[in-house]
Every structure is written in C-alpha cells, then in structure tokens.
Amino acid sequence: MINRLLLRDVSVIRRRQYWGLVFVLPAVVFFAVFFLYPLVIGFGLSLTDFTLLRPPVWVGLDNYIDLLSDRLFLKSINVTLGFVFGSTVPTWILSLLAALLFYQKFPGREGLKLLFFSPLLPSVAVVSVIWVVLLHPSGILTDIVGPLVGKSSITWLHDLTLSPIVIVVARIWSVIPFYMLIWLAGLTAIPQELRDAALVDGANRRQSFLRVELPLLRPTAVFVMAVSTIAAFQGFTLQFIIAPNQGGPVDVNTTLGVVIWKYGFQFYRMGDAAAVSVVLFAFIMIVTSVQLKLGSSDRFSLQ
C-alpha cells in the first residue's frame, strides 16, 4: 500500500517536471528560429555568392580567399584594431581614476557624480549626432584647441589622422561613466578592515592601494577589459553616423562592422558580408577565451 502510494507520488512528480519543459518551450522555440538557425545559415551563406537578387551558389571557401586580397577588408582590420586599442586602454585607466576620485569623500560628491553620469543617458545615435555638432569645423572643440595650434577652423572629421582620434574621444566620453560604475562596485566590495590592516602594518595610502586593493580588483579589471574590448570590436554606430560617408574619409573609419553593413546593404554581397561576420566572430571568440583564462586563475581573491 505504502509502496503503491510512493510510486504514484513519483509518477505525479515526474509528470509535474514536464511542466518545466512547457514553461521554457516558447523561449527555446523562439531562440531556435531567431538565433540557432540564423547562426547556422550565417556560416552557410559565407560559403555562397548570395546577393539577394539570385539564388545562392556554393563557392566553398572562395569568399574567405578573396577577403585575403580585399583592400577594404584588410584596411578595416587595421581600423578596427586601432579603434579597439585606442579606445579601450584610455577607458580602463580613466574610468579607474574616475572611480577612485568619486570613492573619496568630499562635499558635493553626489551631485557632481550625477553630472558625471550624464553620458549614460543618450543612445549611441544621440551621442553621434551631438558630437557631429561639437566637432563642427568652427565648433566648441575648435574654440578650445584652435588657439593652441593657431587655427580658427579645424576640419576634425575630414582629416585622415584626426577623424579616427576624435571618434575614439567621443567613444571614451560615452563609455567611461559605465566602466567607472563597475570599478566603483569593485572598490566598494573591498572590506574596509583590509585597508585599515594595511595602514596599521605601516603601509601608506599608496602602498595600501597598490598592494592590497589593486590585486583584489583583479576580477573587476578582467571584466572591464573583456567587456570593453568585445564592445569595441563591434564598433559601428559612431563610425557610421559621425564619419563622413559611413566610415570615411577614404575608409579610415571603416571598421569590420561598417564593412559588414557595406557589403550586405550597400552592395548586396551577402556571401561576402557573412564571411566578414565570421571573421569578426573569430576575433571576439579569441578575446572571450582570453578573458575566461585570465578570470579563472585567481591568485588574489576574497573567497
């Protein structure tokens, strides 16, 4: 009797567990259609010469081989790497400095922090539109920099050297408050006792920061570096809107993202665009795996 009851219970529980599948089903079906399937046909398309106009023809690895001698693609790798290094390294340092600044106590801190956070609000499209105006040849940036170099008009965006730099500046401006928040959370998580202990042991503030806090911030540092690098590899909107002619002048702002858009939606060369996407995917996977490696072997941790 007891045995039969138990058996019934087990089957009730087992039947109940199927409900889990029912609950996750809508999401799973959706992602099968709008994630897994496109991911697979993306790889497939990169092996065809599909142009939207005629049915795809299998070309094997031809698209990839063509990319090796494709000047726009090769240039875009340089442009992307330049944008990645140019924007991430200053972002790491400046956002950490900003976090250290706002971690201190001083009057008016909360109000000033709020003002500092304002770049969190606009979308990248808004950021771009504003910076186009700030970078007007006789705009506010010229007013500030112009007198130093003796110019009354600077064509920031049409200059081959200046335009990638100012786009990096716009980028840094728009993301620093976000990474500062991450650093600040990391700093706040360090127990005050550890700092006090270091001070009692005779360390000064600087030593305490370098020897105690910085090692404990390592997971935060890995996170900030990985997220900012992965995001910068996908640089698109700033270059698309701010730079003249979508990624110009003379393609100095044509990132891999812009190439995907150009091949796909300007020239309708979907096969080539898909191949560039796969290359971008490979770059990002490399960054992700480095992050996982750095993040896991944690010699310094509170746990």
Partner: protein
C-alpha cells in the same frame, strides 16, 4: 609641558590643514571632471533653445542670448515625421519589454524550479546567445526575415528582439528565490501548474523585474543597427535611425537646432527613468553590461 601641548596642537592644525587642502583638491578635480563629462548633454539641451547662429558662436554662450522657445522643436516636426518615429520606438519598446518579461519569467521559472530532460543543454543555449554579438547574426537574420516576407514591416522590426536571452537568464536568478513550500502548498490545494505560475510565481517575480524592465527598454529604445537595415519605409523608422537624417544640413539650411531638439526628445524618457529609478537603472546597467 605647555610647550609640548603647543607642539601637539600645531601638528593637529597642520594635519587638519592638509586634510582641508586634500578635500579642496578632490572637490576641484571632481568639478572639472563632472563639467567635462556633463557638458555635451548640457550643450544638447541648451542648444535646442538658441538661435541657429548662436549655437556655434565663439565664445560659447552658456545661456541663449535670443531665446527661441520651442521653435527648433516645431521645425523638427515639420522636417520629418518625428511623431511617427517616436510612436514606432515606443510601440516597439512596449511590446518587446512586456513580451520579454512575460516569456522570460516563464522560462526562468521553468529553469529554476523544475527538473526535466535536456534542461542543462537548453540553458547552455540561452547562455551562448548572450556571448554571440548581434553583428554576427545581422546578415543571416536579415535573410531570414526577408524569407518570412517581414522586411520593411513592424513584424520584422520587432519580432527578432521580442524575447531576450538576458531576460531569461535574469528571471531564472530571481526565480530561485521563490520558496518551494509556497508552490507545493498551492499544488496541494489543487491549483494547476500554469495557474501557480500566473498567480504565485509571476507576482513574486514582478518587483525583481524592475531593473530588468529598464534594461530591456534601453536595449530596445537605443537599438540602431537592426532598425537601420530592416526598415526602409520612412514611416517605419525608429527615433535613433530617423534622427541621423538631422546630422546633415537640410537643402543647405543648417538644422543644428532641430537636431539638438530631436536628440533631447530621444534622451528624455531615459533621463526620466534615471531620475526616478536611479538605483534600478544603475543596477540593471551593471549586470547587463549594456553600455559596453
């Protein structure tokens, strides 16, 4: 004795002075940093009220000399179907946030509270979605949406983003906190599984979903790449895509004022969210890494 006390208070005075100076330096640095970072947003807001000739004037005018009221806003609405774009953005965001929250809650609840075959691999699928950047999917997703006959339609604009993997992931985290006893009690009372989800789990998940809702709203409201490629009809554009038309002069007429007005309109809902729900806003941004 007196001498040493004198000495001591001198030292104390010096320490206090040094602390004052440090605080002053910190304060001045923070003011400088805050002004640099706050300036572009101030520039956007104030320029929308300046005469066109004054926006780029040297030296910069902190307040408009000739206040033009909402002239630039009105001009922006004349130049482009801003109202339509605004509605499109609101419509897309409302639909995407509510469906993603509901379906995300369902899936998160399923993953957290049930054991079933294939659960681990299905959850791994959800996690892998978050690791794959959207640009990789852009081309094949566009081809797919075209096959469905959805290009240049609301369905194409909204459907691919209507459920969020991040939403499922967050909801699963929240659902772990629902006590099993509560669910079992309802089962003993004879409630069906779907009723239990709707009447017990969902209300418990709702408050936790506040920061998730804000993030999903930002994802949708700020989305640029997908609406850019999928919407060609001018009436179907969303605000971020449409407003880029303002970054160039209109038939030789400088339209910096209207472009700043549109930018302000696009940022206003986000600014309000930030002011009223600052904690959830910042929390949500940090867990999602949205700004990146």
């Amino acid at each position: 004795m007196a001498n040493s006390r004198q000495h001591e208070s001198n030292a104390a005075f010096e320490a206090r002075l040094r602390k004052r100076i440090t605080t002053l330096i910190l304060f001045c640095t923070a003011v400088l940093v805050a002004v640099i970072f706050g300036f572009p947003m101030y520039f956007m807001g104030i320029s929308a009220f300046k005469a066109e000739s004054e926006i780029l004037a040297t030296p910069f005018r902190w307040l408009p000399e000739t206040f033009v009221g909402f002239e630039h806003y009105a001009r922006a609405f004349e130049l482009a179907p801003i109202g339509q774009w605004y509605l499109n953005s609101v419509f897309a965001a409302a639909l995407q946030v509510s469906v993603a929250i509901f379906v995300g809650a369902m899936a998160g609840y399923g993953f957290a509270k049930f054991r079933f075959r294939g659960k681990r691999i299905l959850f791994a699928l959800i996690l892998s979605i978050m690791a794959v950047p959207f640009q990789i999917l852009l081309i094949p997703l566009f081809v797919l949406v075209r096959q469905f006959g959805w290009d240049d339609s609301y369905a194409g604009l909204i459907m691919p983003g209507i459920i969020s993997a991040f939403g499922v992931f967050m909801m699963r985290q929240f659902a772990f906190a629902i006590p099993d006893e509560l669910l079992d009690a309802a089962r003993i009372d004879g409630a069906g599984e779907f009723r239990i989800f709707l009447l017990i789990a969902l209300p418990l998940l709702a408050p936790a979903a506040a920061s998730l809702a804000i993030i999903l709203f930002l994802f949708s409201w700020n989305n640029f790449l997908w609406p850019l490629v999928v919407a060609r009809d001018r009436a179907l554009l969303t605000l971020p895509v449409g407003m880029t038309q303002f970054s160039q002069p209109y038939r030789g007429e400088p339209i910096v004022g209207p472009s700043m007005a549109v930018s302000t309109l696009a940022t206003l809902p986000v600014a309000l969210l930030f002011l009223f729900f600052q904690r959830y806003f910042i929390e949500g941004m940090m867990v999602s890494g949205i700004k990146g």
